[in-house]
Symmetry: C2
């Protein structure tokens, strides 16, 4: 398997899907739809939608197209970034190497573009899987749980509260990582499994793999923030240390952070081996991700 | 029929449903769940959820409980108010006679509480109608359409753009009213119809009634902003004139606004007469609403 070619194929599918499954920028009001597309098209690694597509393929998806599910999860991820970048949150000017939505447009437009992307994710799942209401229902339920007040939004809230305190505890940090980051990685694998027709046992394995993958991903992110520069990251580097934010690196140091990330990566790879199909691409994707932090 | 008693019964159901179908305030993170409940429990007329319950009863809902649908629509309505009140939007300090969410908590908490309520609405529908995936699917699709970038959020965006211009056109004003206000009133009637098992013809009638009702409601709101005081409204009065905002009253004058609102009210009442069941309560509710503006 040529990993780079496979990744390119999936990323191209995602780009196609985003164009296909979002309202045209010419839709009234055009400013809103332009802003939605601006943030979605800024790029990024497309990790979550690629995970949806690769997981669905693992189960040999025959009847259902995984692309709308991949687009839906990227819409939710992008909404969370737009809102997270707002002045009342992280107040970041740069995202994926481009001005953040509220810098490119204005705060109100960014707020509404985020709201619209979140809503669109659910509408898209309902519309595109209309022929299979039970599948549509399962996908929506999974996404709403992962994005909800106990998980994604809860993680954002706890993250903000932790920033205001002198020291966050390991328990708080775990809550933040599990919910702010791992929830959507888990959801990506589970959505892919649902579209691919995975049975409950395999869905549970996917959820476990996603949890480890998400934790590894966030720890690597913390390491990168502490060690890489802004140009490499495409977003402002060193923000965590500057804000004296509690991160994995601050709590455990760089060495132990590398080690713990490697443990989670290995656990995710182990889980993938329990699944049917050829996990070669997913393995390579995870290892590629893990290498980022070195 | 004792209208006041019936209304009280429905409003009590909604209050019960909100408590039952929202995560407890003690759910981690408590600040987020407290803020969600603060805004939901601020009260208001509960027009949208009462419309869901009354419409479902019209069709003699037997098998399905309309309460989760009623709660879901109130969650979406409340999220839109929280975000609309933020400093980057309408920057309002008072809502339903209490400090707005960002005044009571802070901007970030208000932003996240709105995000969480929107997400919860979809999760709630998926969870509570799990035994009827086709119904869950139809409810979610309707709500996502009504709340999406072409309707509710689109109406908010167009409203903001209109405020920045010297004069909004009648076409722009209609777009705003149809989408910022009428979309969710329409959705309330359609959700009630779906839970009650209405056929496609009756669903179309409900949609038409909702459109007229929504337009009447918004025109009456414009009239009230121009004529009532802050204490009566429970929100800052006279904001439209102060901002030189284009409203129905500014475009057509008080007299014509009353007349057009009355026409829409009559059209909604006419549509209700085409439906099965006893429309006495819905008639009284609409007339009660229309009287507000006198």
């Amino acid at each position: 398997m040529d990993f780079a070619a496979e990744l390119k194929r999936h990323v191209a599918s995602v780009a196609h899907g985003l164009d296909l499954h979002l309202p045209p920028a010419t839709t009234r009001p055009t400013r809103l739809h332009t802003a939605m597309r601006y943030s979605l098209e800024a790029g990024g690694k497309r990790l979550r939608p690629v995970l949806v597509l690769a997981t669905a393929e693992l189960f040999g998806h025959g009847s259902s197209d995984p692309l709308p599910a991949a687009v839906a999860i990227e819409c939710v991820h992008t909404y969370s970034l737009i809102h997270d970048d707002l002045p009342c949150m992280d107040n970041d000017d740069l995202r994926r190497g481009r001005p953040t939505a509220h810098k490119q447009f204005d705060e109100a437009t960014a707020l509404l573009a985020g709201d619209a992307l979140l809503t669109h994710a659910f509408g898209l799942l309902a519309e595109r899987y209309a022929a299979q209401p039970a599948l549509a229902h399962a996908l929506i339920r999974e996404l709403a749980d992962a994005a909800g007040s106990r998980r994604l939004v809860g993680g954002q809230m706890e993250d903000l509260l932790a920033e205001k305190k002198a020291d966050a505890t390991p328990d708080e940090l775990e809550f933040i990582h599990l919910n702010k980051t791992a929830a959507m990685i888990e959801a990506a694998l589970v959505l892919g499994g649902l579209v691919g027709g995975a049975d409950p046992r395999h869905l549970a394995t996917l959820r476990r793999a996603g949890r480890h993958l998400g934790l590894a991903f966030q720890i690597i992110d913390d390491i990168l923030d502490a060690t890489a520069d802004t140009a490499t990251l495409g977003k402002t580097a060193g923000k965590d240390a500057q804000a004296d934010k509690t991160t994995f690196v601050k709590l455990y140091g760089i060495e132990a952070s590398h080690r713990i990330a490697a443990e989670h990566t290995a656990a995710a790879l182990g889980a993938f081996r329990e699944l049917p199909g050829d996990p070669t691409f997913l393995h390579a994707l995870v290892q590629n991700m893990a290498v980022r932090g070195k």
